[in-house]
Amino acid sequence: MSLRAKAVIAGVGHTAFGAHEGRSTVSLNVEAIRSALADANVEKDAVDALFLKYPTSAFEFTYGQKVAEAVGLQPRIGGVWDQAGAANVGAIMFAVMAIEAGQCEIAVVSFADNPKTGSRGAIAKAIGPDEVFGWFGAAAGYAMIARRHMGQWGTTADQLGAVAVNARTNALANPHAQLRKPLTLDEYRQSRPIVSPLRRDDCCLVSDGGAAVVVMSAERAKALNVPAPVPILGFGQGQTSWNVELRPDLTSTMAKRSAQTAFAMAGLQPKDIDVAQFYDCFTIVPIMTLEDYGFCPAGAGGAFVASEGIGPDGKLPLNTSGGLLAESGMPGMQLVIEGVRQMRGTAATQIPRARTCIVSNQGGIMHTHSTLILGERA
């Protein structure tokens, strides 16, 4: 039994991205949920499931219940889904499966965080028990992977830079983007090293904000006259799980299995995809995602972004809203929302005649991965 197109994203909503001094993550979730429900034209009391990714910067016990209380709901099913940056798409998948299994009918999936004005501890913390060696910070974990990719496949700094330049260029047209400042490849080369080989401009933004989506069956969306439902064609996951130093292979992850599962469910192949929103917490990630997803051979991701084209006119338009590098550093839901805009034909940088969009989420230091394939608005 395939779940292809059985469920839709009925509504999307988000707060402004940037600094929200004094706002709690609960409050940011509530604003995002209010906005998503309005977009779906759904009454709050029709919602019977609430799934959340916990705020990365500050874990709170029974956080899903705190948000449910703040929106005045007692869901049939819900809670916090812990897969770090893969959790938003992961929770959307779980919502679809729960709906299909008769456990709920209308689910809200939401995320909010405030690392810009609140705690940044999660970004700079020690990576495991190796503090004595100075092994701190998520950037260093991705730098370790990037260095191996460069040594193994000849990937260059300029190819990493092409990912950053694309994100910054696309964000210029996006009124929601937190960083609307153009970047040239030459400016990228001058950007200061953080943890070599990664520079400042290889690293995503730090953002406060919230983002939410409403998920229901396609049938229910039709019955409720939801204005612009976007069908979910496929989804998958892959959990690399092991710490960077223990992985036999640093340059390929379970993203491959995640995509294979999603493509099989959707009955599609990479060549059928019109636009992509890839998790880009660091520039090496979209390059490896292109390879693991089968858009190019292993090792050819760098050449793909630099030569085949990832701009709006390129072979695979990528991160059309600016991604984590320029729209918002929030972990992933904004990529789903941009995918929905592209499938509705309402994106600021709209790809003409785009009928399929693939979205990746991933987290930890490539520990987790999830994939979502969206289809043209019903």
């Binding site: 913390k125 028990p129 190796d130 060696f133 260093a140 370790m144 070599s196 080989p197």
Partner: protein, 139 residues
């Protein structure tokens, strides 16, 4: 306000890892080997991550290793490392198989290192604790 630099965070041995740190203190780098399936690993665990048996022993590493990957810190994410910038952290694979996080020392220009190059163990003292580090092995 004190001008003293904050201390480097040191390993906190527990019952499982104490023999690892004690061996380093005695000049030996060790790893665990499964008596059931012969798998070798670090960091210390109660069970073999391959066959799940809880039947293993400590074994001495030869000190030969290779460089899987490395990074050079230009930003200190912990104040104690500010004075050491730039410093190098690496993923190292022992000749016997286990991998670990460590530092590369005496590397000259760390940007000139290459993946898979041979390394050699050097045990150094950090705040009185013996820690395993690696230096490039001359070809």
């Amino acid at each position: 306000m004190s001008d003293a630099a904050p201390a480097i965070p040191l390993p906190v041995p527990d019952a499982l890892s104490a023999p690892y740190w004690a061996a380093l203190d005695a000049g030996r780098h060790t790893f665990q080997r499964c008596r059931v399936c012969n798998n070798a690993w670090l960091p210390p665990r109660h069970e073999c991550p391959r066959c799940l048996a809880a039947d293993w022993s400590w074994e001495d590493a030869s000190g030969a290793a290779r460089l899987i990957s490395w990074v050079v810190y230009h930003t200190a994410f912990h104040p104690a490392f500010k004075a050491r910038l730039p410093y190098t952290v690496a993923v190292v694979e022992l000749a016997e198989g286990p991998r670990l996080i460590s530092n590369i020392v005496d590397a000259g220009d760390p940007e000139a290192l290459v993946i898979d190059q041979p390394l050699r163990l050097t045990i150094e003292r950090e705040g009185g604790v013996a820690v395993p580090r690696f230096r490039p092995e001359p070809a």
